[in-house]
């Protein structure tokens, strides 16, 4: 499998805190890569670097073998090719329909195509009857599903998910996981990075899993190896559910 995104020696500090230290990582095409780790390990910062929302202090981010910079003028264009779902469901203060349409308008789609694509997505989401309601009246689970749909409506090749299920009930988690699997099955070029602290979710969803601890990736391996035969003591302890903080 070829890599769609690569990080080489990436580091990021926030004042005195080293959030990410010398991380090198390749996200392969066609895989779901899980990034596990305790709170404060630097997972979200790493995802923000991958999503070109934060520039690293040092190191290189490569997209399709080309070095890219989150501060460059081309960064917004590159972000348009990705989809990002954040931990907290964030909807804009407009209708459900217009939340979806916004994601396409930003990307320069014409109105007729937006209308058709949004209608399709609303049917798939089961929110067609509430398409003209303000998105802020939706439940937490519906909002997160809407956010997911808004992040994938343009069929991106790279999807980044930051603790998307952190505040959801099991039924909604299951629905969203199903949506992620459907997205992954759309083609072999799709790469998904799933940041989570939930071992079981990583086990259910991912092809490879990395453990991040104190800003570093201490182990990255195929799911089976990661859970059954970890190479690092800390991974083994984390997988056993022991305190490794």
């Amino acid at each position: 499998m070829t890599a769609s995104m690569e990080l080489h020696g990436v580091a990021k500090r926030y004042k005195e805190v080293a959030a990410v230290r010398d991380v090198s990582l390749a996200v392969r095409k066609g895989e779901i890569l899980g990034i596990l780790g305790p709170s404060g390990a630097g997972k979200s910062t790493l995802l923000r670097i991958v999503g070109l929302l934060e520039p690293p202090d040092s190191g290189t981010v490569k997209l399709d073998d080309r070095a890219v910079d989150a501060r460059s003028v081309e960064a917004p264009m590159l972000r348009r090719k990705m989809g990002i779902v954040l931990q907290k469901p964030v909807v804009l203060n407009r209708s459900v329909r217009n939340n979806l349409a916004y994601a396409l308008r930003i990307r320069g789609w014409d109105e007729a195509s937006i209308y058709m694509r949004v209608d399709e997505e609303l049917k798939r989401l089961g929110l067609g009857d509430r398409s003209n309601k303000n998105a802020r009246v939706l439940s937490g689970g519906e909002m997160q599903r809407l956010c997911f749909a808004r992040s994938t409506i343009h069929d991106p090749d790279v999807l980044l998910l930051d603790e998307f299920a952190a505040n959801l009930d099991p039924a909604n988690v299951s629905l969203l996981e199903q949506m992620i699997r459907q997205f992954a099955s759309r083609g072999s070029s799709k790469s998904i990075v799933l940041v989570t602290h939930n071992l079981f979710q990583a086990k259910r969803m991912c092809d490879r899993v990395a453990l991040m601890w104190d800003g570093e990736i201490i182990e990255i391996a195929a799911k089976h190896k990661f859970f059954e035969d970890p190479g690092d003591e800390r991974t083994a302890a984390f997988v056993r559910g022991e305190l490794v903080y």
């Binding site: 990002i84 954040l86 964030v90 930003i106």
Partner: protein, 218 residues
């Protein structure tokens, strides 16, 4: 100058609304984009610019009037335009009073938009202009409030209106300057009646805008 009569009450009220409304529109047209720019862009001296903006909330109306008077007086740089003692001069003087208020409230409103919304919009690949417009839309309630507060300031303002308008009967006399004139002439009943009209007009405008806001039409 003569006292206000019932006959010209409507004219005075309409002129008050016209002058205050235009000043609010012009001040908002400048203040909202300026506030969004200051609130959302990072630049050197941003803190100082914000401090100056907030300090100008207390800008004395009479100084605004004095400044505009100087600009449009015969000896001033724009004296030849013949704007002094016209509603245009009053609108200009009052626009200066609206700008800092609307700018400052806009800064606060856009800064207070949830950081997650800003992140989400950026993550979708919005350009700087698209981001700014989206955040302004998210801050819409605050921006409408800024315009309302701006209007509230100028509809009740007397110093600048008197100085550059001159309180000329049938031409530049507005409710506040008429109240002042009637009081000086000892016509307290008329002054009180005009005060009641001023209060009613201000409240009616605020009530109407608030109603639109509640119906999500604004």
């Amino acid at each position: 100058m003569v006292g206000t009569t019932g006959l010209d009450l409507i004219e005075v009220t309409l002129l008050s609304l016209y002058v205050s409304g235009m000043a609010t529109i012009l001040g908002s047209a400048i203040g909202i984009p300026l506030g969004a720019l200051i609130g959302l862009k990072e630049f050197g001296g941003k803190g100082a610019v914000k401090t100056v903006t907030y300090t100008l909330y207390g800008f004395p109306p009479v100084l605004s009037g004095l400044f505009v008077y100087y600009l449009f007086s015969r000896a001033g740089p724009f004296g030849s335009l013949g704007v002094l003692f016209t509603p245009t001069a009053m609108i200009i003087a009052e626009t200066f009073l609206v700008i800092p208020l609307v700018t400052g409230i806009t800064i606060t409103s856009v800064v207070e938009v949830d950081k997650n919304i800003k992140d989400t919009v950026r993550a979708m690949g919005a350009s700087s202009r698209q981001s700014t417009l989206t955040i302004m839309r998210e801050a819409w309630v605050g921006l409408v409030m800024a315009c309302m507060i701006g209007f509230g300031r100028v509809i009740a303002e007397v110093g600048a209106a008197y100085l550059v308008g001159g309180n000329i009967d049938g031409k530049t006399k507005v409710l506040t300057t008429a109240i002042m004139l009637e009081t000086r002439m000892g016509h307290f009943e008329w002054a009180m009646a005009l005060g009641a009209v001023l209060l009613f007009v201000a409240l009616a405008v605020f009530f109407f805008l608030r109603l639109l806001q509640e119906k999500e039409l604004l």
